[in-house]
Chain length 403, copies 4
């Protein structure tokens, strides 16, 4: 992709003033510095804090281009969070990077209540990633024939796909015929990596094979169906990452003392806010998954844009026969990783370590902790609204700027 | 909210091991350090990079609780991006924080093409923020009477709301009756701030006044309708922030030389990926708004969770009568700020400065630059898919980890 | 449109065997008969019942082409239904045409319970119809200028639109910019008619005027935004017809004796079925609006395809502080008429008469009765499910066919 | 269900004036007449046309309660429609019951164009019906265990379900965990019947067995997930009836002579109306499936309320490399039947006969014809809009009422 910025000599009146190119893409510390200075000079800004970067710049290769340093975002910690998962068992302190005052305290409050209640039970129902190319045919007869037959070729397609990767496994194909086109959803397991690059490459190989053997005129590697980094209804049935549920039984006394409300009030709030979600034509129902996901994803080196799909889900507050609270979150498409991407870099690695989640074999554990933390946030925020403490909390902890 | 974590002596068998509390909430540098050490000891991790924080910890007050330092994320820069907005005019270099290899290069490529094409035209159609309490009545007659009458009380409600803020202006009320409940959407202008805390406080005051004068039994300050940090269909009509369009006419020769594809191929890709979006029941249509939004939001101290609502929008690629490309993005609910929140902190301030967008009077300018940058990303990613270079680009620039 | 079927002489190998054309489009009784005989001969079927039509065929002009008679559908009646509306006050017996066994009995049961409970309160919050042309511009600057200015031209546009109709009134314009295009939503009141033809004609005139005065390159009279005869999220905020709420307080003893369940069971069912609606990504929430709407629309000469938009809405079952039930339905886009379309034909007129709703000045009354009837259906069906009588009821009343 | 209307003596002040009950539910002709007279007297209307019913009233048993006669709706016929399906092969004349002027002519025009073009190719990709009970557990661990294990019990569950029916076959179970609840989607084949009663009964039996063997506290037979008679995003992937595609290649000369437009204009219209659908947050994309479905469903004795789910689908207009048109419709959840319900009654049977679709073994054929007819409507309506003839056509053929 070095040729991405090609010259266009004939029409070029004045040359584009591109960010300077340097040797080996300029990851050496002096190149990063020189580039930063070029930006300072060109734009007139001062990048002192950006330069105060402790990540060795050479380690940024593969994670960023045109590097000029690093941003910093305040990091807080919330806990204790007692988790009873299949992969995560024990008490955790969760790193959260944010600039929204009251957010960490709010999650901490929810975590304390849940821990006092005996902890959060959590399970992963499904774990896969997907990509969905679209194949174009001359007519609906050809597309029908293809859609009926493609699953019979599963083994050959799987072999082609998996020949490009040591970690990705193709587990399922699913056809969505739309007129004379057929969208084919490829579902993979990707071990502890996010795996998008992996499965894109594998699927491209598989598509070439399909092209050879079918009447397809052409194909596009992406149809838009996969809902990578977008919110869609189809995400509710899973497919982008881990489908996780987390729940806790919270005694009414704990709800009262820690959360200043009652199970009945929370249930009533749920009923009324469902109306607002329905009226807005929201996908799913939740209070603020995006808040917790953003804070943890940023801290732990996740691909932050994946909160667009990960934040689709459903929260529930139910009153038990005993008058206690059973609270749950369901995150059907939670995209997290503990290897690859930004997970090994500086603070990301440290934050994953704080949870015992750095490296291979830890993605499921990490997903369970995330789901439990999200439950804490839903519970605390719901309680703040139900008890009318929301404004007061943000007044006390939010920045007292003239805004 | 200091009482958020209340003791619950009677049922408490062993005390929760909370993150230690310190004087004045522990923002002094020695407290941050002590807290970080406590976490290191408790969880067994090492937080060297987290501690290498150049933001004075006292400045974090109002942005985070339980601070232990800061995270770092690689910062790259993409440009030049020529913008012809109402507020942003000129060439910009856009700071992007990410760990996804190829992202910055891809945006840069799109920006170069757009700049070569003469720049991106962009306009803000609407600029407001909203919150939507729900009022509960005994029956549908009372709710009808209320919904018919509440707009007549607009002036009094406005006065009550605005009495709590110097910057927020209530511009509109809109009723959504649902059975015997009425959701009332409050639309505000919030100047250059995100303004959520501001309008929540103002609306709480207004609601108290409404309660005094109406037959409402009760109300909830949040109904879920506002779609703050969630994706919903109602966001397409605007309401959470700025409704921005950005577009550019790109000559077919520029499409070819910079993007390695043709307007017809991009238009064809659009048609086919619309099918995938429809089939997935996606809200709106776009390639990857979340990617660019996340990278810029993190760099510039925005509330990152707002990408859940900001990423709702519609991209279009059209072939003109001359065979050139007209490409657009529409971001109906783009939530950005240049004051308040995390905008003044360390690297955030520097990144905003890089765009000439730090401080009051700059939010509209910032929104226009963001929209133009998002267009660059859509164009570049679409072209990589249309020209089958997507995999190759990620192979070359992505991290060569065993994933 | 007589030229709709044009000859295509050169490529025509054998002539299409069209349904025979007759004088004055063949509405005279002998022509209808001759056409019916032609169909019988051509397809080999016998159309005895189709021919047993009591509607004078000449009266069908304007409602159908190529008439061959009429279909018949069983008509039942459900009631008494006590309605306390602004327009409908009193006890009604509702005509319902259906072939689904148990449907009429189920609605009757709900009506009896509601009548015993003191009747259904109902109100119309809004009453309008809409159509949304899309205007195409060269670039986003032109579309911005247009969108900002078009409301200033409201009076002139209104005059142009209303010059084509004596009943339609243009009440509002609303712009939805999407890239360089602008969708303009035209909202009209249409008195007691459905009014689609009326507002299409009026809007076409208005669009021509807009074209003369703006930089628009072209326009399409329909953008798809109006959601005529389609289900969409935007319908929840109203726009296609009447936005109606209906509700009733039902004493727990009445719930028990008439519906064999309890308010708490109904509320619990609501909570759990909301989950299913969310998981399916349904628009709104309801049990079976389409059932009642279809049965009444067919009986009363409505445009039946409008159930696609009318069936979007939200049902709610709430337990009051006294343990009683407050049940509501909200139909935001209920499209009904008492003049025009099929409302004056034979059985349609009779069924409207049964409700005192035939002719001018009755559409609001009709809408209130429909909403009340829909509430009865939701209540009865919900109760049958909550009390586990659903299967038994359909066993007893459904057709005992080998299915 | 005779006890549906129970007396409630103690609180009953004045008795409800119910529609009179008669022997054997009053299907004998004299009872129907007496009931009709009672309605005439009670409401003051005249039901002459309603009484002019040629369906023997005894045959209405199982299709309606409280019968008072039948409604009539004008029936027209559109064709010729050449279909090249797997089940439907040949030329058809399609019965359409409607009161919307121009509808039949518009479909006829589309059918003529498609027949001239060589006919409509159509295929059924999937054929099943579904119902989705929800099971409630104490906690997320129990629901996880259940969701993981239930498919292992498939055989036993299938046996229980199929013990209640001779025609329904359980083909698949699919779990959707939501918090501590699990929605289980049961997919059945139902031969030529609609089959809702059949699968409800079968599933109730299966649920009882599941309750015996699992830790479920309780269940509801309906969760709302199935989207019976409602519009939902999940319908796009099929499940309620037949997933059908239909397409045709139409030469540009045929487009011009029959439809007065060009493939490029239709493709352009598609692009622009997709924007409106996206902006309205519509499910899928289509012009007016509901129109054709309503007209054919009413004519052919289908359950008309099923147009709410059947009308969800996607239309596409594509220009081929030769400049011709390839037009398609995709109806993922088309609910049709040729046995059971109202299919055998009077005019319904005759209309099905007109298509050679009455009785067992014909449902797939019927579905293919319906899909082809829907394509004709999309093509004709799209062309009328693209060529600006829409208003003129409705002016000429619509009723010239003062509306």
């Amino acid at each position: 992709m070095s040729g991405l910025i090609s010259p266009e000599p004939s029409t070029q009146v004045e040359p584009l003033q591109l960010v300077p190119r340097m040797k080996e893409q300029g990851y050496a510390v002096q190149y990063v510095e020189r580039r930063r200075e070029w930006i300072e000079k060109t734009t007139g800004c001062c990048l002192k804090h950006v330069g105060a970067c402790s990540i060795p710049s050479q380690e940024m290769r593969g994670n960023i281009e045109n590097p000029i340093g690093a941003i910093q975002m305040p990091l807080g910690v919330a806990g204790p969070l007692l988790v009873n998962g299949n992969h995560a068992c024990g008490t955790f302190y969760v790193p959260m990077a944010t600039t929204e005052g009251a957010l960490v305290r709010s999650y901490e409050r929810g975590m304390a209540a849940l821990t006092r209640a005996g902890g959060v039970a959590t399970r992963i129902h499904q774990d896969e990633n997907r990509i969905a190319p679209i194949f174009c045919f001359d007519n609906v007869l050809d597309s029908f024939e293809f859609a009926q037959g493609v699953t019979e070729d599963f083994e050959a397609i799987r072999e082609a796909a998996e020949s490009t990767t040591g970690h990705g496994k193709l587990v399922r194909l699913e056809c969505h015929p739309v007129g004379r086109e057929v969208i084919v959803n490829f579902s993979y397991t990707t071990a502890d990596a996010h795996g998008m690059n992996m499965i894109v490459k594998a699927t491209e190989r598989a598509c070439q094979q399909i092209m050879d053997r079918s009447k397809a005129r052409t194909f596009h590697l992406f149809s838009g169906f996969s809902s990578e980094k977008r919110a869609s209804g189809s995400l509710l049935a899973g497919g982008k990452g881990k489908r996780v549920t987390a729940g806790a039984l919270v005694h009414k006394a704990t709800v009262k003392s820690y959360l200043h409300t009652t199970p009945a009030q929370l249930s009533d709030l749920w009923r009324h806010t469902v109306l607002g979600h329905l009226q807005a034509n929201t996908i799913g129902y939740n209070g603020q998954y995006a808040n917790g996901l953003a804070a943890i994803f940023i801290a732990c080196g996740q691909d932050v844009a994946n909160i667009a799909n990960s934040a689709v889900g459903i929260t529930n507050f139910e009153v038990t026969d005993n008058g206690d609270l059973y609270a749950t979150v369901t995150l059907p498409s939670l995209t997290v990783a503990t290897v690859g991407g930004g997970t090994a870099l500086g603070t990301s690695r440290e934050c994953l370590d704080m949870l015992g989640c750095a490296g291979p074999g830890r993605a499921a554990k990490f997903a369970e902790i995330v789901a439990a933390a999200i439950l804490a946030g839903e519970l605390s925020m719901g309680s703040a609204i139900a008890s009318n403490e929301f404004v007061q909390a943000h007044e006390t902890l939010g920045r007292n700027r003239p805004v």
